[in-house]
Structure formats: C-alpha cells, structure tokens
C-alpha cells in the first residue's frame, strides 16, 4: 500500500452519539452489567418490532366494543390479544428502563384528537410500535408540538376544525401511549385485516388520520443541506 493511499470509509459518517453508544456499551460489558451475548439478543429482538401489532389492536377495537373498553382501561392487557407481552416479551423480562410496562390507548372521538410527543427525549411505545421515526425525535417536533399543535399538525397535512379539542399528550414519565384513531367512513363491513392495513404508524402517533386506500405514511419533504459535509474522501 503506498503512503498516499487513503482507505475508503467503511461508513459515510459515524456520529458522536454512535461513538458514545459504543463506548458506554463496551464499558457496561467490561463491568459485567450485561454480556455481549445479551446485547446481541436485545438488538435482534428490537429488529423484530414494528407498528403492525398496534395497528391490529386499533382494528380490533373498532370491531369489538368490549375489546375497545379493555384497550382503553388496560393497554398492557389488551396488547396480549395482538401478541405483545410488555413484561415478558423483551429478553429482559421486565421491559427496559426506557420502555416501561405502562401503556395507555388514547381514544379519539369526533370532538377530541390526541397526538403524542415526548418533549424530554424520545419516549415511544417501542414494544408495540417499533422504532420511532426520525422526525419524532427531533427538537423541532418536540418543542413545537406542545406550543403550536395546530400548526405542526397542519404541516403533516392534518387540519382540524376549531371546535375539535386537540389534546397533546407529553410522554415524559413511565407511561407510553398510542392513539386509537376514529374509524373512517367508507370502511363499513371491512375485515380486521383490511382495517389493520389503513392504520399507519403516523395514525398511531396521532399526526395522521386513517383513510381508505392509504396504507403508508405520507412522505416527509427532505431538504438538501445548506452547508453539506465534505469528508475529503
């Protein structure tokens, strides 16, 4: 290898937070708080998670009034019906210190629309919804949603009448939340499977409402950086 040769980067960029995560993880393994094997099992578990169980929970609640009552009263118990055991599902058998086993289903009505945020960091019901979207963790969403909910929802394409109560739920202690949206008109006679398909992740956070024919999250605009990073490679 000549002196002038520069190795191609293995990844484009490693953020400070990724370096911090590696450092803390390696220290924790050295200290014996958990093993490398525990960590691998945890990562594999996390990669199996997604919003589908929460979507199915919403569909079930639309179809079965008794199940809806249970979901609103005891989200942890209702989650068992869609295969999510908050307590024993994760490899730790007690959730995690950031995904506690307190789960509330927030029922929208024609006059109340819920929307979830964590102003402190990124608390999110990962056990039943998977990893949070990047925008959910941004300071922009977190600080603006509590202060200007109508404007932020409008940016997501959701404009609500003045007489609808928007209830922002700030998830900053141990309870995690999902929104049970209103069942849209035009879905009469639909099966649980059909209904599940229109309950997208954004509907479960509360920034969108389900619509027949819409089965994926709306695209978010991505703006090119004003001052892009030049790595020199």
């Amino acid at each position: 290898m000549s002196d002038t040769h520069k190795a191609a980067p293995m990844v484009d960029e490693v953020s400070d937070f990724e370096i911090l995560e590696m450092a803390v993880r390696e220290l924790a393994i050295e200290k014996g708080l958990f093993s490398a094997e525990d960590h691998r099992r945890w990562i594999e578990y996390v990669h199996t998670l997604g919003p589908l169980p929460a979507a199915r929970l919403a569909a079930k609640a639309w179809l079965d009034p008794d199940f809806k009552k249970l979901a609103v009263a005891d989200g942890v118990k209702a989650s068992l019906a869609v295969g999510i055991d908050w307590i024993n599902g994760p490899p730790t058998k007690f959730g995690t210190p950031s995904d506690y086993c307190s789960f509330r289903v927030l029922e929208d009505t024609p006059k109340v629309k819920h929307v979830v945020v964590c102003t402190l960091c990124s608390c999110y019901p990962r056990t039943i919804l998977g990893q949070s979207p990047e925008w959910y963790r941004t300071p922009n969403y977190r600080r603006r949603l509590v202060r200007w909910p109508r404007q932020v929802l409008a940016e997501f394409g959701l404009q609500l009448a003045a007489d609808v109560e928007i209830r922002v739920v700030d998830s900053n202690q141990k309870t995690r939340y999902m929104v049970l949206p209103l069942r849209p008109i035009g879905t009469e006679g639909w099966s649980e499977q059909q209904l599940t398909e229109i309950v997208t992740r954004d509907c479960l956070i509360g920034v969108a409402m389900p619509q027949p024919g819409v089965t994926s999250n709306a695209k978010r605009p991505v703006h090119p950086a004003v001052h892009p990073i030049h790595t020199g490679h």
Binding site: K31, F94, C101, T119, I166, K174, T175
Partner: protein, 122 residues
Amino acid sequence: MSKNQHDRAHHAKKASGVGDPQCFRGEAGQAKFKNGDKVRIRDLPDIFYTRCQVYTRGAVGRITKVVYESPAAEDEAWDNTDHPEWFYSVVFRQHELWPDYPASYKNDTLETEFSERWLEQA
C-alpha cells in the same frame, strides 16, 4: 442507602416477570389526590435531573387518572428506589400553559404525568 450499593442488578431482579412500574405497586401508601382534583404544579428546585417540564411549572390543571406508583424520576436517576410515590396524569387547558394561545382554540388541552411531590391543591 438501604440496599447493597454494588448490586447494580437490583432493579432488574425486582421487576423481572412483574414489569416496571408494576413492581412498585403498594409501596407508596395513600394517594394524596384523586381523579378530578384541581392541582397546581410546584416550582421545586431541579438541579441535576428532573422530568417535570418547566413549561408546566405554576400552571393549574385537573387530574384525569391516578396512574401508578414509582420512585420519582429525580430519585430513580440516582438509583434511589426507596420512596415510591403516586403518579398522576394531569390535563391543562393550553391557554393556561401559553397565555397567548389563540382564544379561538380554547378547547385545546395538554396531558402529562407528574409524581406527587410536584403537585399541590389548587
């Protein structure tokens, strides 16, 4: 500290198969507030760590749900789980939090949780 200072897994042992905050059930004694109570958020010192957002301090809201028992985040951050408290979900009118919130949206609300130490009767 009542527990072995070097038992870093004590939380995991206590919560395994039970869940957190379920593992603190029955440890906080009598709840001071109930559903429907009007409460004001206290403005306590929060040096080092807190989960009580500054935008709620001094605001008056109503308890909608007595949620669970748990050590307050301000204690748990230092691994102190000796004194669990009741937690409450409190709803505020947005106008109470942000005085210039538009009057045409007076129905809008915000809900979040507090440990008992942050609340006083209003």
